[in-house]
């Protein structure tokens, strides 16, 4: 009897403890469960430049509009544009258990592919990604295509180019690719050119001082974008017209033909949302560009701006 009673009590106690344990478990897990719903997303800017900031702004807005702002935790890193700094930034976000890494610019994107093969990497602000080796299982992204020949065509209509300086970054594959495309266009137009290759920040100034050129093409690069504005003191940059495909340099150069960063940001948000939903995203290419002429700068450089050019521009700085 006693034994039975003990067994029966023991069974009731067991059930009681089981129920209490489940309740306690659920209560205790309630908080952390809610916190862990936020997916940690590491965001690496290849450099803190206006172009990447514009994409990120558009991206953040769309994420908020679509109700995903509360579901992600962004860890933003803005390292200097060099491979070691990119690596460190990526390792840092991986240490924070980032489930997804967003990179602005090809430099950080490439470095991320060396650091992880399992965490999804989403790039943005990359020129012609289909032409550079960014095809990895865990890599998705939004690239852009801007016809560099158009910029040269506009430049040629404004002045006779004796030698075009093409400033590009050796450590950023899309900058190298764009340089190659500019070289091809120069050959088609029979334009003399010189390649100004940079690897480190101080080289931007050095190369600009070292070579002779009468026009500049600034390729899509975190390194060039970060340090070109510091070169305003160099006499050549004050006297030669420059063109670029990077947004945010409209005041420094005379023509910019840039991808629509609103679209780039929105497409980047689409990819992130797909990943959050467990869907495999598709890579996107932005082909819609914006044309800006800086008549003010052209006037300062003594270039007579053919007025017929500006009729099609999205914006004219007067």
């Amino acid at each position: 009897m006693r034994g039975q009673s003990t067994a029966s009590l023991s069974g009731t106690a067991k059930r009681f403890f089981l129920i209490i344990s489940i309740i306690l478990f659920l209560v205790c897990q309630g908080g952390p469960l809610h916190a862990s719903e936020k997916t940690v997303v590491g965001v690496i800017f290849s450099a803190d430049i206006p172009y990447y900031r514009a994409i990120h702004q558009a991206f953040s807005r769309v994420i908020k509009e679509r109700g995903y702002a509360g579901k992600i935790q962004l860890i933003i890193q803005r390292p200097n544009p060099d491979t070691l700094a990119w690596s460190n930034a990526i390792r840092k976000v991986l240490a924070y258990d980032a489930s997804i890494i967003i990179t602005y610019g090809s430099g950080a994107a490439f470095q991320a592919t060396y650091e992880t093969t399992s965490v999804p990497i989403v790039y943005a602000g990359v020129y012609a990604p289909d032409k550079i080796d960014l095809k990895k299982k865990n890599v998705y992204g939004v690239g852009f295509r801007v016809p560099v020949s158009s910029l040269l065509r506009y430049l040629r209509q404004m002045k006779e180019i004796k030698r075009l300086g093409i400033v590009f970054s050796e450590i950023e594959p899309d900058s190298v690719q764009q340089m190659k495309d500019v070289v091809n266009s120069c050959r088609r137009f029979s334009l003399p050119y010189v390649q100004l290759s940079v690897k480190r920040c101080r080289e931007v100034k050095e190369r600009l001082k070292l070579y002779n050129y009468d026009s500049l093409f600034l390729t899509n690069s975190a390194l060039v974008g970060k340090y070109y504005p510091d070169c305003k003191g160099i006499s050549d940059t004050n006297t030669v017209p420059a063109v670029t495909t990077m947004k945010g340099y409209e005041d420094l150069v005379i023509v910019t033909l840039t991808p629509d960063t609103e679209i780039e940001g929105a497409l980047l948000a689409d990819i992130l949302i797909d990943l959050l939903r467990g869907k495999k995203p598709e890579n996107k290419i932005v082909t819609n560009n914006k044309l800006v002429f800086n008549m003010k700068k052209a006037k300062k450089l003594g270039i007579s701006f053919p007025i017929e050019l500006i009729t099609g521009a999205d914006r004219v700085i007067k």
Partner: protein, 294 residues
Amino acid sequence: MRWLFGVVLSLFIFLSPSLIKSEERQLLIGLIPEQNIFRQMERYMPLSEYLEKRTGIKVRLTILSRFGDIIDRFTQRGMDGAFFGDLTGVLAMEKLSVEPIVRPVTPDGSSTVHGYIIVRKDSNINTVEDMKGKVIAFVDRATVTGYLYPIFYFRSQGIENIDEFFREYYFTGSHDASVYAVLDGRADVGCVKNTIFENLVKKDPSIGEELKILIRSPEMPDSTLCLKTSLSEDTKRLIRETLLSMSDDSEGQKVLEKMKIKRFIRASKKDFSPVYNMLKAMGLSVDTYQYKLQ
């Protein structure tokens, strides 16, 4: 015989100014912005000087910033005639009481034009289906080659609503601007008149290397000079004969060369049949056609 004809024509042109009414000794001729307005003015300037020299009639030119403006401002600005395009010609004949006088023949012998729908070669757009969700640049609602034909074509492909089919559409205001919009990637698809496209390619062959023509429209009348029917028959005849005989004298040839025209030929309302037919096929009426940009 030919010399006799020359003498008679010269005598006619020489004596005609005296027959012209004094109020018609000055004509205001309108131009549409088929290419950018500066280039367009530059192209027609030598013609106005030539006409003045040959007829004694002072010919002033005025250019409108939009194609449709020529219909609205013709009377307001007191124009006596204009070089109308395909659709503006039809609208003008129906709304403004003008009659066709002459139209140009291009150096390759063509007296009509056609439209192209163009894309970048590296765009991966090869069919109309590929254009879905893209940005298209039209020229102006008041052109066949730059708007009406593309709409007609898209409808024939089952696309009734361009607002839904394209992500965005806009009007560039001139044919050359439409070409540059596609070249720059500011539009994925563009509409342009063949003569403007071919002149741009001739000037810069790289344009032809970067763009491809996907669709070509039927032939349409081009840049037809129409004069007010209320002008005296003598004035109309003098202008017509002077322009028709331009290619017979060296000075006239030089002017034509600058304009990239071989000669002028007589124009008639019948030339605009393709436009009337297209409007009819689309169920559109000239009276109610919305040629203005909203």
